[in-house]
């Protein structure tokens, strides 16, 4: 039986085991490989996506738990107002090294700015400590979040 799914503002019908994690549906069935597999256990954040704007670990989210929620992945993160600024700050500061964790980092950072428009270091630690960067790009992640926060605020003021 096909299950309907809304991902990046598009509707999909997938016929798979409802227990299959969203991560693998995105990667294998919808051919959206931007969302990454890192640990499969909710420990690294590489698979982070937004579910109705909330950052979740897609490796821990079975299809059956998605329901009517709207999924946003890295491929469409620019459609979220803060997401666009996060991506731009990431490019500006050249945050990535290998780049593998960065989709997850960007999703978590976008969610953080939605919650906390002017995040302090402690807010960044709390929101981002679920996202591992094996290359340790943390200094730039912190800086880029602050830069994106300022740009998002400026947008609102305008």
């Amino acid at each position: 039986m096909a299950i309907t799914l809304t991902v990046n503002r598009k509707h999909y019908a997938v016929s798979v085991d409802p227990e299959k994690p969203l991560l693998w549906i995105l990667r294998e069935d919808l051919r959206l490989p931007g969302t990454k597999f890192g640990c499969g256990a909710g420990l690294c954040g590489a698979c982070t996506v937004l579910l109705d704007g909330q950052a979740v670990r897609s490796c821990q989210t079975p299809l059956s738990a998605v329901g009517a929620a709207k999924v946003t992945t890295i491929e469409d993160i620019r459609s979220v107002p803060a997401g666009k600024h996060v991506v731009e700050a990431w490019i500006d500061l050249d945050v990535p090294q290998c780049g593998y964790c960065q989709a997850g980092q960007i999703m978590s950072a976008t969610w953080l700015l939605g919650q906390t428009p002017d995040p302090q270091d402690a807010d960044i630690d709390a929101a981002m400590s679920g996202n591992i960067c094996r290359c340790s790009t943390y200094l730039r992640i912190r800086k880029a979040i602050k830069q994106a926060a300022a740009a998002t605020q400026a947008d609102k003021a305008a």
Binding site: A41, D94, C98, I124, S129, N131, C133, S136, Y138, L139
Partner: protein
């Protein structure tokens, strides 16, 4: 220079090799076709499009070290194009066309500094020569810039694109003779450039090995023997095969057990998730009797007993260490140790293969495709030339992907399913439990000081792993370990324990451990000598000179070492004072020379009452030669290396073994650094010196570990001699 010779011989002059170069590019031509067909292919590395944009081939594997940006910068510089005109394409793996292609040892910079510039200069010379012929002027009357050739006297100019068809027919000059720009003319080398893939990464584009997607592709998960070197006795795959979506179960050899034996079962399915689930239904009887007795506890016991005896083998014997110690005014003795470590790249090991009509094509996130090609050909019994290897972007290397097990594995699975592309992916547990680990080691050290506080004798008994009378991979120790070349009486000896684990190179291999041992121990020696560590090192270095070459290790220049140490003292405003009481706040120093780079680092750390370690700031001073080719990336690499080193020290990283099998399975048991434990500031400064540039992916890592351990001593009086560092409450 050999590499240059090799490339000029191979990739130039011969029509067949130019055909090879064209072949190399053809695979990605669809990508490059945005401007129509290229108008000229000049050398294996440069292609000019009709709109005067330039495609430059990046030949080395990109693991996050920035080489895909850096090598093309060298070509673009000498080709004399604007960086904005350039688009970068990863080449295939084929060292016959491109020269050496590996990501290891921080070697890409020294090996390619000249050849890549020469490749760009040769292509430029061909364009200039085409223009000179067309205009009937001498080539040296022409200048180039921004992808244009100009003749000042007549005011004529032409774009590279308009000249490219004629230039492609010009015989390429020999690499060695083509003139290179003087440093003063550099407009790209030495300027900050963002990673060429950064925009694609933040778009979620399919760049990585694990993103490989081919029509009709199937997925494989591996059930590998949990105990290294164990093999399959018998197996029953009926239940797994009955799962909907499962296509096949293929017994394979991962390359670490004898040929003919199998130590893993590949479950192939229409989804990796399905394959991984079906894996639980396999019934396998393993033969592990010979490996069960290997354990961390066993190694520790054996190492301690070995340390109290004489070393099994000599690494270096110089002067008379016994007499030197007997005559010393003071002696210092200590034991240091460190554990096995996994690489834990964030992209799990994976590889995609397609076996079709006796040809194998691999999409390999490999740091060493040349080695992989050999091993795969050997395992399959096919000709190495019959393999096509696509290099993908790599989600972290750290040395793990210098090994080729994933290529060997997927090759066997693909051959069992001819015509079907197979993507094999390790689960995280597979990745951590089937690594090639940084080997553990134990050191028993003694140093003797004379009445002036100079080191007169030094002794180290290094216990590690060997098979049976030589060290295993990455367990070597150099006879040049500082200060062995300077101190008159030295005895370095080794003893080797047995292990069934595979070992391998981890970022700054051997140095990552040796720096901790020697620079921490030298801090103890400095204390006994009544000075601070930088003073002891400077005093030991003596006058500026080049120490003798030993084997293939890079030569140690005491003057370059002195400069980075002095600069680090200035940079961090190091006052050299030893604390008179333990405040929980401390500062430590570390220096190390590895991978031809000289690094001195200072760490400020705070230890809480409960013993929690916090790194407040790190200062890094490095000398990587005459040019920092891409200063933006160099700073990022140094910062990343430093935080990587701190991860080995403060978050509890270690690999344990029980009953022959590795215990840790995921990032709970084998933690990685997270943002809330990373230092808020890592300040980086480079000093230049008149020597060829070298790589920056590794040498900034080793000194930070002892600098931290020494800072913790300064903060608490606790001398931590075991990694990972564990402080007691203060």
């Amino acid at each position: 220079m050999n590499a240059a010779d090799a490339i000029s011989r191979r990739s130039f002059l011969s029509a067949s090799l130019l055909a090879g170069a064209a072949l190399a590019f053809h695979v990605r031509l669809a990508l490059a076709a945005e401007n129509g067909a290229p108008v000229g292919t000049l050398t294996a590395f440069v292609r000019i499009n009709p709109d005067n944009s330039v495609v430059i081939g990046a030949k080395n594997p990109e693991i996050g070290q920035g080489v895909k940006t850096m090598l093309p910068m060298l070509i673009a510089e000498e080709l004399d194009v604007d960086w904005e005109q350039v688009r970068i394409e990863q080449t295939l793996a084929d060292d016959k066309i491109y020269g050496p292609q590996s990501a290891g040892g921080s070697r890409a910079t020294p090996v390619n500094w000249l050849p890549m510039r020469q490749a760009g200069a040769a292509a430029r010379a061909m364009l200039v020569s085409a223009a000179a012929t067309q205009w009937g002027v001498k080539p040296d009357a022409l200048i180039t810039s921004g992808g244009m050739v100009r003749h000042a006297a007549s005011g004529r100019s032409a774009s590279y694109a308009s000249l490219a068809p004629a230039a492609a027919a010009v015989p390429p000059p020999a690499f060695e003779t083509v003139p290179l720009k003087p440093d003063s003319a550099f407009r790209i080398i030495g300027t900050p450039r963002r990673g060429v893939d950064t925009p694609a990464i933040v778009r979620g584009a399919p760049l990585f090995g694990i993103d490989t997607d081919l029509p009709n592709m199937v997925y494989a998960a591996l059930e590998t023997c949990p105990v290294f070197q164990g093999v399959i006795k018998s197996h029953d795959d009926a239940a797994a095969l009955a799962v909907k979506g499962v296509i096949a179960v293929v017994p394979i050899n991962s390359g670490i057990v004898p040929k003919g034996q199998k130590d893993a079962l590949a479950i192939v399915a229409d989804s990796w998730w399905t394959a991984q689930k079906a894996r639980a239904l396999l019934k396998v009887e393993w033969d592990l009797a010979a490996q069960r007795h290997f354990s961390t506890a066993g190694y520790e016991k054996a190492a301690v007993s070995s340390l109290s005896g004489a070393p099994q083998s000599d690494i270096l014997r110089k002067g008379d260490v016994a007499a030197g110690l007997a005559g010393a005014v003071k002696t210092v003795s200590a034991r240091y140790d460190y554990p096995f470590l996994a690489h834990a790249t964030l992209e799990p090991q994976n590889c995609t293969g397609l076996f079709d009509q006796d040809r194998l094509t691999l999409w390999a996130p490999s740091q060493a495709p040349t080695g992989g090609r050999k091993q795969v050909a050997d395992m399959l019994g096919i000709a190495p030339e019959s393999l096509i290897i696509h290099l993908t972007r790599i989600g972290g290397g750290f040395g793990r992907r210098l090994m080729s097990d994933y290529m060997v594995q997927v090759a066997q699975i693909a051959r069992a399913l001819p015509g079907r592309p197979v993507k094999m992916i390790y689960s995280r547990a597979d990745d951590i439990r089937h690594d090639f680990y940084r080997p553990a080691g134990w050191h028993g050290l003694t140093a003797g000081l004379d009445k002036d506080g100079a080191i007169v004798a030094l002794k180290d008994h290094f216990v590690t792993f060997g098979a049976p009378d030589a060290p295993v991979r990455a367990a070597e120790m150099e006879a040049t370990e500082f200060p062995a070349q300077i101190v008159p009486n030295i005895h370095f000896g080794a003893s080797w324990l047995q292990t069934n684990l595979s070992t391998g190179w981890l970022r700054a291999p051997t140095s990552n451990a040796m720096a901790f041992v020697f620079q921490s121990f030298l801090d103890e020696v400095a204390l006994a000598a009544g000075v601070d560590l930088p003073t002891l090192i400077l005093r030991t270095l003596g006058e500026d000179r080049l120490l003798p070459q030993v084997g293939r290790a890079p030569q140690f220049n005491t003057g370059r070492a002195r400069k980075v140490i002095e600069e680090a003292r200035r940079f961090a405003a190091w006052d050299g004072k030893r604390p008179d009481r333990w405040t929980g706040i401390g500062r430590g120093f570390g220096f190390y020379f590895s991978h031809a780079g000289y690094f001195a680092e200072v760490v400020d750390a705070t230890v809480s009452k409960s013993g929690q370690i916090k790194v407040d700031k790190v200062w890094v001073v490095g000398d990587i030669g005459s040019h920092v080719i891409n200063p933006l990336n160099a700073e990022h690499q140094a910062q990343g290396s430093v935080i990587d080193g701190l991860a080995q020290a403060i978050i509890g990283q270690k690999i344990d073994q029980v009953d022959g099998a590795v215990v840790q399975e995921n990032f709970d048991g084998f933690p990685l650094m997270r943002i809330d434990s990373a230092p808020p500031e890592v300040a980086v400064r480079f000093v230049t010196s008149p020597y060829p540039p070298t790589g920056i992916g590794e040498p900034a890592l080793p000194p930070v570990i002892p600098a931290l351990a020494n800072a913790i001593y300064a903060a608490t009086g606790q001398r931590l001699r075991s990694l990972p560092l564990r402080t007691a409450a203060v």
